[in-house]
Chain length 420, copies 2
């Protein structure tokens, strides 16, 4: 019997049951989820997923970075695999959808294909990546698997070495083995990830699906404007070297620069710290935390240059000195154009309205973008809310996204078959 | 024998000896003075002054607010007095000149007249006012003496009730008696104060003397800009309600407003506090500490109105809310125009270059301005520095100021005699 795979749809009820069971693990009184990587709730969540996979008769695996996989083997067991994945960990006091929906969607796709009695020509693997949110080390699992992590990255976990080591030990792992999770490039045929948008655009437009064109690169710097402390009553305005004035003008003009010259980018002045910070002393130093994001490497560089240039010009205008600080940069990841077409084709097949858009947030998909054909699906976030208990997506939107993941995966399988 | 009083000059060496002896009391390793009101060094300084006055055969008095006086009695012992004064207390880690020079100058004027064998027709009193700097309660002594202090002011000393009470007890005083220091209006014929400028204008211009036209009024508010926290990567710039942007634009434009419309006023944005204050979250709230100073009540009100209007317009432009907070205001004090003429006349007599200027800082003189003819003399501060060990004035400038205080006091005496 031949199955018409284009008509295959996921099991809504099973997916919902899984989603709600998982959302109870680390649930907060406010309706969100607190499941930071390698903490108590995350370990419970990992145990829950392990049991679900084992009950399903899909193969279960864990690698040295703690990445958990369900595998639907292909007819060529030694061939490469298509990976579908996301993460079960959350930010502290996070929401129910971010990451979790993508992992359960990947698992559901495999279960649906298994239920259909389908043996694909190429293996399909659903993965829960360790610590995407950066409780210890951001996108730890996906970077370890794709070889984008190095020994230096492991030396500065955000909560210190011993917290990290203890967390790893709780799931039977060691920092010293993590880099062994790296897989050879030719074992990975492609990567797909479903995620909530975490922004307001799809919900505001009423569009069903966002097809991610790029995951933005992120730069961070602390700008130090250094002027001179003076008596705020006796020093004429014209003689002041006011670091706060420079920081203020920079912030206003940086917004203008973005809106005029970088429509695809965003910036944020997340904090300013004034010194000495009292009513009656002109601030001699202001530390300004600047973040900037752009969808391509070239744009990120141009944006950084424009912002530094603006800060320098503003400092000169206000007669204060500027220290631009060291930049911490996460590179931009461009999605494969053929994958954009596959996703659009699959969305059309399902009758879903879709649009292309960059992702302003980082995702596990960025670890794969340079390695293999990589695609990413967004579904609408109500009110654009994320990383909190008010993170919410409509259930119909979730189902649309999961069916799109299924159909896009099947088109990738077919493409592999046709070329292989 | 008739003395030509217009040729009388103070004793430079005695004044310098007094200045240096006093500067050793509370001296800091950095070359400044740490003598906060009612602390150990201040009490030593008070004891030193008491002994110097008592050795001089001038009358010594202390009132219930701790104000210390030296009196050169007039021929009418029951008549009003001309008061010359300032304060011996300093800010923590302050300088040698602020306040101390004015007290020693007043004392030196009386000593010089006493040495000359001169009995004025009206009494002359040199006063060290308690706690001008506000270690416990700002301009405590001068406000108590002039009746500008009330019971409510005494209830909130900056370092708490028990510290204040203990400090008073160390000099034999009680909070409950302070208001009894108030003197009847008709006992005060005029007030003169010599002080360092604490700003850079006189030194930069090379002008010998500043004749103070007004002591600025001071307003303080904490403006709260309230927007919305959002993901700094996924929220388009156009949809953000960024409290930091509003605070930044306000700061830049407030400067422009000052320079264009309020040339005699100053403002200071002393601090901004961003919430939540991280790189990747759009700040939902910024608390901005705003101070504004103007030489007249009307200008202070107009300035406040302009600043609040600007903050409101900026908040609207950035689509954030604004809370303007409660204003804490210290009123402006205008100097007597006849006193300005007397001071100019005396400066001309001494061949000193002078200019009129407002005082951006508060002084004991402001307590007297509504009560009696009040005048204030500034001498140059090198580099405009004050309230620190680098506070410095040239000794010649100090002597010029003290001789001006002497000559101006003599003109006031003569004016009293002519009209009385």
């Amino acid at each position: 019997m031949t199955i018409d795979l284009t008509r295959l749809r996921v099991d809504r009820r099973r997916l919902r049951n899984h989603f709600e069971a998982l959302a109870r693990i680390g649930a907060t009184p406010e309706g969100g989820v607190h499941r930071p990587a390698l903490g108590e709730a995350d370990i419970k969540g990992r145990k829950w997923l392990c049991e679900r996979i084992q009950q399903s008769h899909l193969a279960y695996m864990v690698d040295p970075a703690g990445n958990q996989s369900a595998l639907l083997p292909g007819s060529d067991e030694n061939g490469p695999r298509i990976i579908l994945g996301s993460h079960l960990d959350t930010v502290p006091g996070g929401g129910r959808f971010d990451g979790a929906l993508g992992v359960l969607a990947a698992f559901e796709v495999l279960l649906t294909l298994q239920d259909a009695g389908y043996t694909p020509p190429i293996g399909l693997e659903a993965i829960n990546f360790t610590d995407e949110e950066g409780t210890h080390i951001g996108t730890l699992g996906s970077r370890a698997l794709t070889g984008r992590l190095n020994a230096k990255d492991l030396q500065r976990p955000f909560q210190g070495q011993s917290n990290f080591d203890n967390g790893l030990a709780r799931i039977g792992l060691s920092r010293h083995n993590i880099l062994q999770a790296r897989r050879p490039k030719d074992t990975i045929a492609g990567y797909l990830e479903l995620h909530i948008e975490q922004g307001p655009i799809l919900a505001q437009e009423g569009t069903d699906i966002g097809i991610v064109t790029a995951i933005v690169g992120i730069g961070r710097r602390t700008l130090l404007f250094r002027g001179q402390a003076d008596h705020a009553g006796t020093t004429p305005m014209s003689l002041r070297q006011d670091a706060g004035r420079a920081a203020g003008i920079f912030t206003g003009k940086a917004w203008d620069t973005l809106q005029n010259n970088f429509p695809d980018c965003v910036i944020n002045v997340g904090s300013m710290r004034f010194h000495p910070g009292t009513f009656n002393v002109v601030p001699h130093t202001v530390a300004l935390d600047l973040e900037y994001r752009a969808p391509t490497k070239r744009q990120l560089e141009a944006l950084q240059e424009a912002l530094i240039g603006l800060a320098q010009a503003t400092a000169r205008e206000c007669r204060v000195a500027l220290e631009t600080g060291a930049a911490e940069t996460s590179p931009a990841a461009t999605m494969n154009t053929r994958m954009l077409d596959i996703l659009a084709h699959a969305a059309d097949r399902l009758g879903l309205q879709h649009r292309r858009m960059p992702s302003g947030a980082g995702h596990d998909a960025q670890s794969f973008a340079d390695l293999c054909p990589t695609g990413m699906i967004f579904i609408p976030s109500m009110g654009g809310k994320s990383h909190g208990p008010d993170e919410q997506s409509r259930w119909n939107d979730c189902i649309n996204g999961v069916n799109l993941l299924l159909q896009a995966a099947l088109i990738m399988v077919k493409a592999f078959q046709d070329t292989g």
